[in-house]
């Protein structure tokens, strides 16, 4: 599969996927942290009418016209969302949902109008729904890299302003930053990243490229700069991997494979990341529960011993189960391994009995005065 890297078409697609990944990963980090994950989805769906309009206006299939149209309607959708938020009682999710559906519906209507109108040559606009990555040309790469570098440069230049307006917009306003303007610039940059990716992954899947890399990256780091860089790299990696896999057999679509690769990376991050990962946190929870049970069982045994006024009192396991509320066997075995309790079955027909060992009594003595827990 690596031999494919020398192929002209594969190289073109991989370079495009790299550029897409870097911009969508970096800008997506901010979208997600600002709790605007859905915004990427709205912007990409809103690009559809712009593509149809770009075709109707320019009358040809020139890519710059289509992408310009897409950018215009995407930005219009963002403005619509802002307007809905300001002028009505709608919350952010409802405003985004309305804008998304509205623009996408207009887009589908326009597409079917274009489809039905006279004039051969309007074909191929549907390819923007799921992307047509394989048809990427070197000339497209030039446009993409200029736009990608420009947005990344702008992100770097305004880094601290974006950081503080995303974290605490109220405070940012108080130190004199033009928060509304910065928000608008950030939204426009996200729209640009979305439009750049439309050719590769299409309208429907583009939101994944905005949201998933940030979610995955957040799992591995607690710093904003590392998170943004990692998100960009993970998205770029999925782009390369998806493109390579799709190049191995005829009829494999590139866009969806990129998103699948990204999904795998995200799921792995959600499961396996240290500290925040699902596995790490369930292990931590289990450890905590185990410790709690161990303390509780030691207290129960001690309490029973006190009640019966016998330090070496043998408690029947059933009584411990009842006091603990769950089966105590595993906890008792763990404590036994630590040498804090010992089992006695001199009367085997009555089931296992347990008592504190000398170490166990000492450990309890040093710990809380729980006394009379029974």
């Amino acid at each position: 599969m690596l031999a494919l890297l020398t192929d002209y078409t594969v190289q073109t697609v991989i370079l495009g996927a790299l550029l897409l990944g870097l911009t969508s990963g970096a800008l997506g980090s901010f979208a997600v942290l600002r709790q605007q994950s859905l915004l990427g989805d709205a912007l990409s769906h809103a690009a559809l009418p712009g593509i149809a309009l770009g075709f109707l206006v320019a009358g040809s299939r020139s890519l710059p016209a289509l992408l310009a149209g897409a950018l215009i309607t995407a930005v219009a959708a963002a403005l619509t969302i802002t307007l809905l938020l300001r002028r009505s009682r709608l919350k952010s999710d409802a405003a985004i949902g309305i804008s998304l559906s509205l623009y996408f519906a207009v887009g589908v209507v326009l597409l079917s109008y274009v489809q039905g109108s006279a004039g051969a040559g309007q074909a191929g606009l549907e390819s923007f729904l799921f992307g047509q990555a394989a048809a990427m040309l070197r000339s497209d790469l030039v446009v993409m890299s200029v736009l990608a570098l420009a947005s990344l440069a702008l992100l770097l230049a305004l880094w601290k302003e974006f950081e503080v307006t995303s974290f605490d917009p109220v405070f940012a306003a108080s130190i004199g930053l033009p928060v509304v303007l910065l928000d608008a610039v950030m939204t426009a940059m996200i729209a640009l990243a979305v439009v750049l990716g439309l050719q590769m992954v299409g309208v429907v899947l583009m939101s994944a490229m905005i949201v998933a890399p940030a979610v995955a990256a957040r799992q591995w780091t607690d710093r904003l700069d590392s998170m943004t860089i990692l998100a960009a790299l993970l998205a770029a990696l999925s782009g390369v991997v998806g493109a390579l896999i799709s190049a191995t057999a005829r009829g494999l679509s590139t866009g969806p494979l990129i998103v699948l690769a990204l999904t795998v990376i995200t799921l792995v991050s959600l499961a396996f990341a240290p500290k925040r990962g699902w596995i790490a946190s369930s292990l931590a929870r289990r450890r905590a529960r185990r410790n709690l049970h161990e303390h509780q069982v030691l207290d129960i045994l001690q309490g029973l011993a006190l009640r019966h006024d016998d330090a070496a009192y043998l408690s029947e396991e059933g009584m411990v189960d009842s006091a603990l509320g769950v089966r105590a066997r595993t906890t008792l075995q763990q404590l036994e391994r630590q040498g804090l309790v010992e089992r006695d079955s001199h009367r085997p027909e009555e089931g296992p009995h347990w008592r504190l060992t000398a170490e166990g009594r000492e450990a309890q003595g040093n710990a809380l005065h729980s006394g009379g827990k029974a």
Partner: protein
Amino acid sequence: MSEAKIHEPNLAIHVEDLTVNYGSHPALWDVDLDVPPGVMAAIVGPNGAGKSTLLKAILGLVTPTAGHVYILGRPFGEQRRRVGYVPQRTSVDWDFPTRVLDVVTMGLYGELGWLRRPGRAERERALAALEQVGMVDYQDRQIAQLSGGQQQRTFLARALVQDADVLFLDEPMAGVDATSEAAILSVMRDLRAEGKTLLVVHHDLQTVRTTFDWMALLNVRLIAQGSVEEVYTRENLQEAYGGNVALLAATPQEDRPLGT
């Protein structure tokens, strides 16, 4: 030209006719506030009295329908560098990937201007501010791992790092543990000792007398303002709180001093 704009230079905060409307009803109406320099001033009033709104309107975060604000004799817009703000804690996403030191450094972003990045000098100032609030040991801690009081102290450090002369704090000690409360109060007293002015929206009427030296009673309109002895009277409280004054015994022994 700048001389012509100087107005009430002897007052730290001078507010005239401040009015803010939310929809059709006023949240603040005809508020005239004169805070002398070097005091620790409290704004108190019942819920919905417009206390936070007053702060936000002074700081330009909310557009007033009417009114002017002067800080140390000059219009507010020119004095941003001399003003610090500690907002309420709840306004922020605490899972944001940032450390205590980063948050405090953000206080300097306004000063740095466009394109400059925070460097060693800024880091030193941030550490000094953390020192002041007793949070230096937590500088690398993720903000999600902080307790409420520690978060509040971080926000205070963020305002301190700006070296402002006039500080605005919105309920800095609400819902905060005893250690943090003591630390915050101690910092506030130090600031006053340095000659800075503090205007604090305070949540707890019971502790005003033992903590602050200047107060304003607010309930959409300004009821009274001045030194705490002058203003903290039964009549004023009655007017501001509208009748629940039985709960507010105005005798010193029943007030719990803050920080103990």
